[in-house]
């Protein structure tokens, strides 16, 4: 419920911004009051992968029947705001970079919207670790060391430390990931 409401609000603001531009100066007063109701979507270039650090917050986890969600964080250490939109490509690897089992599948819980990360700021995707699959499916688990993350529309990856157990055989989907969302906190 909460998510749907806020997404609608953002869409509303985007439409309002576009009409203000189309109508010109006459609409300025109206546009200002609309902006007070909800911040307008900022426009920023796509994030260069080299400006991002990726990491998983081990303390912010949320568990439910066989699955634990963690925020997969994207910190913009570049000097300017930048935008990410959509799903990252995610897999768990050894310290040497060897992939462990299947890459994360896409969890379509939220629609993809552009997320602006201010300079020094952090956005996140929800990363679902299916512990039931890891521990009860016979997928020969071992401790992972790294999470390898391709930001949306990027052909280069960044890595973060990741100490959870991972499947070592294919066709055991033990990771899935949502689209990127604003802020560093896991979605409720």
């Amino acid at each position: 419920m909460f998510q749907v409401t806020s997404i609608k609000r953002i869409r509303h603001a985007a439409v309002a911004g576009a009409s203000a531009l189309a109508l010109g100066a006459g609409a300025a007063v109206w546009a200002t009051s609309a902006a007070q109701a909800a911040p307008p979507p900022a426009i920023a270039p796509l994030c260069a992968t080299s400006a991002l650090s990726v990491w998983v917050d081990a303390d912010q986890s949320s568990g439910a029947a066989g699955t634990i969600a963690y925020p997969l964080e994207f910190t913009n250490h570049g000097p300017r705001a930048c935008t990410l939109r959509g799903y990252p490509g995610v897999s768990a690897t050894t310290l040497g970079g060897r992939q462990l089992g299947d890459a994360a599948s896409r969890q379509p819980v939220f629609p993809a919207t552009p997320v602006v990360i201010p300079a020094g700021g952090t956005a996140h995707a929800d990363l679902y670790w299916h512990d039931a699959e890891v521990f009860t499916s016979g997928c020969r688990p071992t401790a992972a060391s790294l999470i390898k993350v391709y930001p949306p529309n990027s052909k280069t990856a960044q890595v973060g430390f990741f100490s959870l157990q991972a499947c070592t055989v294919k066709h055991h989907g033990y990771l899935s990931v949502s689209v990127i969302r604003g802020g560093p906190r896991l979605d409720p």
Binding site: F2, S53, W55, V56, D57, A58, D59, Q60, E73, T75, H77, L95, P118, G120, G121, T122, A143, A144, S145, L146, Q158, V159, G160, F161, F162, S163, G183, P184, R185, P188
Partner: protein
């Protein structure tokens, strides 16, 4: 959301417990909360550990002669700016939370600065890691986390840290004071 509802539940419970005499106070604080939206006057306060996330930036590695330096980052996941001052307390732990070896040794200047961290922003401390493969006599074991006590805090945060560390009294980690930036 969960935290907000818990807090709301807690204050509702407090009002019920205190009875009618506290209704005025409850109403005042509620209206004060409504009157102050997302951008209050900037009042710096120390970071509460519950509003921090700790992480080691795996891509920040910078090595010299057997020691690798990483950024140990502290991200403000809360909605308010806060400040950090001094050295975090750092030790390596296994999956069960048992400490491996000795805590990180403090390094750096005698008088570090106060570092303000914006909501969603990040500060860091320089973490030195001695490659323990070079000293097998310290009986290395693979850690799972770094347990990180932010300065002046008795509560810890956990950063994934899947590297081998010493399990003897031999030190293999150093930590500098909190600095600006990720």
């Amino acid at each position: 959301m969960l935290k907000v509802s818990r807090r709301a539940a807690a204050s509702a419970a407090a009002v019920l417990a205190l009875g009618a005499g506290s209704l005025t106070w409850a109403a005042t604080s509620a209206s004060a909360a409504t009157a102050k939206p997302a951008a209050p006057a900037y009042v710096p306060r120390p970071c509460n550990t519950s509003q921090l996330a700790a992480w080691v930036n795996a891509d920040s590695a910078d090595g010299t002669a057997g020691t690798t330096y990483y950024h140990l980052d502290l991200t403000n996941t809360g909605g308010r700016a806060c400040w950090l001052y001094g050295w975090p307390g750092v030790s390596a732990v296994n999956w069960a939370g048992r400490q491996l070896g000795v805590p990180a040794v403090r390094r750096g200047p005698a008088h570090p600065g106060i570092v303000n961290v914006a909501p969603g922003g990040t500060a860091h401390a320089l973490l030195g890691y001695v490659d323990v493969q070079l000293s097998p006599s310290c009986r290395p074991a693979t850690a799972t986390f770094l347990r990180v006590y932010p300065p002046a805090s008795r509560n810890a945060r956990h950063a994934f840290f899947p590297l081998p560390v010493c399990t003897t009294r031999t030190w293999d980690l150093t930590i500098g004071p909190i600095q600006y930036g990720a």
